[in-house]
Amino acid sequence: MLTDREILSTLEMLKSENLDVRTVTLGINLLDCASHDAEKLKYKIHTRIAHFAEKLVFVCEQIGQKYGIPVVNKRIAVSPIAVVGAAMSSSQLVDVAKTLDAVAEEVNVDFIGGFSALVEKGIARGDRALIEAIPHALTATNRVCASVNVASTRAGINMDAVLFMGKAIKQAAELTSDKDGLACAKLCVFANIPQDIPFMAGAYLGIGEADAVINVGVSGPGVVKKAIDRARQSDSKLDLGQISELIKKTAYKVTRVGELIGREVAERLKIRFGVVDLSLAPTPHVGDSVGEIFQSLGLVSIGVPGTTAALALLNDAVKKGGAFASSRVGGLSGAFIPVSEDLNISKSAREGFIGLDKLEAITSVCSVGLDMVAIPGDTSEDTIAAIIADEMAIGVINHKTTATRLIPVPGKKAGEEAFFGGLLGQATIIPVNNAKGANHFIRHGGLIPAPIHSLMN
């Protein structure tokens, strides 16, 4: 028998604290679709995805209804297209992206990730073609997401790839200048990319994965915030150790929801269950913000001194609670700080509480990096590459995933607003300081060697 308190507190989490399953992402292995014939390749990709994903949305909705918990997004992640389509030219890969977009629309998923390349140690022919294709592919499609891993703790930082990405980002922004550089919102540059991220834009299915797998991304910043608020109201003398404990317990509950729903979706689709990614992922809605948690913790706004310590506490507690709740934890697992996708962080940027420097600093303790950061349209490709290089260094040296999703908004300056729409939200453009002149350091190219602690064997 359940107690009324158990039932009512669960309902509260669902009804007024925005607890949901943020995404169920179906990973589909496309490696054996490879072909020298572009038409054959596209046909095989289309058939494979349509076969596995046919019932994804229907089953997610059915399970969501059974438990009264919405599965907000249904998505697909595929094997890196740079590998699957290694034999293709850049323009042929743009067509492959269109195929992915078409099949995503057909099976009614909102995003499909995996237009990706892994180039942390070197760029192969197929990788080069893919990176060259990214700006056009993301312009010509709506649902395709791209990611490129340019660095890892084991391999170091591929600075040629970093510079290449600076160029690709700049071009992608220009091609979608009528939409404030929207293509860049679908492009992530990574260090230490996990093989099983369910969240976009970084989702792809790793080379070491099975034919198909269900990964789940849970969320729940609203639940964590309300739990902290309630606890502080009933006991104003709570110390940070007790708050950490409280966040742990809340993360446990949130993760259990994801695990339950993910396993059941996997079972119904007869596909193996992969991981729960226990990230606090915000949306541009009131009460569903990571930024608001900082205020509940007692900071004026995210970005003020104390932010890094608060985020370290939050991220660690989320991981500990989540790890206890599920033995299949993976993906990014931590707190996201996507500027435009979080009303509160976006507001902090507008009011000048948080800038690029502080954002970069806090990426050393959060789960991703400079995420959905709008920067002035005249930021040079060298500067963009240099920002990426800094972010990659944090990931490589600290043995963690870091990423950038930078949007140089064409024709707009710092302080102006950029609008991306829907889940991608809107953001005030953040100034990039000290960006004048050529960046000779970046232009050296080559590989920044792997750090000494990569020698673990």
Binding site: M1, L2, D4, E6, I7, L8, S9, T10, L11, M13, L14, K15, Q65, K66, Y67, G68, I69, K253, R256, V257, E259, L260
Partner: protein, 184 residues
């Protein structure tokens, strides 16, 4: 061995369970299941027990009444026939249905009429009506078994429709979600 069930109802006070089980023990009965609850000031308890062939239930009930009546408690004893759960209970899935809304007469009757019509069996019901229009003060929690061959969509639509008529906010969820979230 035979089995019987007894129910005790009356004003709550210390010593009720001790009084009942004291009599049962003296008559060499073995208590198998007990459930008790308190609503406001009133106690309600049911006891399933086994007893030997030479005990008369009538005598037992008289003894219990003699002991419990002075405490303002009424007692009823009934023989249990040897049978498992009847096969008329179809295979089912456990759901939790919760309603909130302004207090008025006929809320439980309204909702349970829909459940009964669809063969939905209530396994536990908690209803708290503090009165007034504050929805949080008037809550009903039904734990129910929904037959698997029932079209759940139809049940859900009818329940939602009925809740709307009664100005209730209703949630219908599989029980597993509450266990997953709250229990280790």
């Amino acid at each position: 061995m035979n089995k019987a069930i007894l129910s005790v109802l009356g004003k709550d006070q210390p010593g009720i369970v001790a009084a009942v089980t004291g009599v049962l023990f003296a008559q060499d009965c073995n208590v198998e299941n007990v459930s008790q609850t308190i609503l406001q000031t009133e106690f309600a308890g049911i006891f399933v027990f086994s007893f030997s062939d030479d005990l008369s239930l009538e005598i037992l009930e008289n003894e219990l009444t003699a002991k419990l009546q002075p405490l303002d408690l009424s007692v009823h004893v009934k023989l249990l026939h040897h049978q498992k759960r009847p096969s008329t209970f179809p295979e089912s899935e456990p759901f939790v249905i919760t309603t909130k809304g302004p207090d008025r007469k006929g809320l439980v009757a309204g909702i349970t009429e829909v459940m009964a019509r669809h063969g939905v069996n209530i396994t536990n019901l908690q209803a708290v009506f503090k009165g007034g229009d504050e929805p949080g003060n008037n809550i009903m929690i039904y734990e129910v078994d929904v037959p698997v061959d029932l079209d759940q969509k139809i049940l859900e639509n009818e329940l939602r429709q009925r809740a709307k008529e009664l100005l209730l906010e209703i949630s219908i969820q599989h029980r597993n979600i509450f266990e997953a979230i709250n229990r280790i």
